[in-house]
């Protein structure tokens, strides 16, 4: 019993991230409206970013900004231990991922507006019918 509880406590956050990813994947596959598919894509992207950022956390460590780096008020700069600061490398990679996701979202919204101007609908099955009629 105690080993099940220790397993749950160590890994429960990964299970919740995977549930969030699957919600996003379901919305991308099964929903009919184009904008709901876009929302699902964005949920999937942010869930993956959440998973990556959580791998950089260290217990008992602080945020990755070095204190007293320029020797303020006569205190000389102390030796920096790597175990005192959170790993900054996943944060850097995920910043680029967030920027790319918002750029993709903007272009996808522009595409939706254009599709609506042409076909007067945003539902996938109606679009398929009108495309097969042409």
């Amino acid at each position: 019993m105690t080993e099940i509880i220790s397993l749950v406590v160590a890994k429960y956050n990964y299970w919740l991230y995977i549930i969030l990813m699957m919600i996003g994947l379901y919305a991308m596959i099964a929903k009919n409206n184009l904008i709901k598919k876009l929302v699902g894509m964005n949920i999937f992207q942010t869930a993956i970013i959440l998973f990556y950022v959580s791998t950089g956390y260290k217990t008992g460590a602080t945020i990755p900004i070095i204190k007293n780096a320029h020797g303020g008020h006569g205190v000389e700069a102390a030796v920096i231990h790597a175990a005192d600061y959170i790993n900054p490398l996943p944060h850097v990679l995920m910043l680029t991922a967030i920027v790319v996701s918002v750029a993709t979202f903007g272009v996808a919204m522009a595409l939706c507006v254009r599709i609506y101007q042409r076909y007067q609908t945003l539902e996938e099955d109606e679009l398929r019918m009108r495309l097969s009629e042409k």
């Binding site: 990755p64 959170i86 944060h91 910043l95 979202f105």
Partner: protein
């Protein structure tokens, strides 16, 4: 990082994500999506990723919601599912 905060905010995130894809009004989807973005930002701030939280707050709960609402007003607001 306290585990009660982590668990409560994660539960909110999952509930908001499920609600955002189930409502039938696209304006409601836009607002729920903005709430989802804000909860994500809180989660990252609690985890110590302050730069990522700043970016998500300004991009997700700011500019992305405005794009969504502008697109919903340029197209239709009702949806069948």
């Amino acid at each position: 990082m306290l585990w009660p905060i982590d668990l409560i905010v994660l539960t909110f995130v999952i509930v908001t994500a499920v609600a955002a894809i189930s409502v039938r009004d696209l304006l409601g989807t836009a607002i729920l999506f903005s709430v989802y973005s804000f909860m994500m930002c809180l989660l990252w701030a609690v985890m110590g990723a302050v730069d990522v939280a700043f970016t998500e707050a300004s991009v997700g709960a700011g500019v992305s919601t405005v794009f969504f609402v502008a697109a919903v007003f340029s197209t239709s607001r009702r949806t069948k599912d």
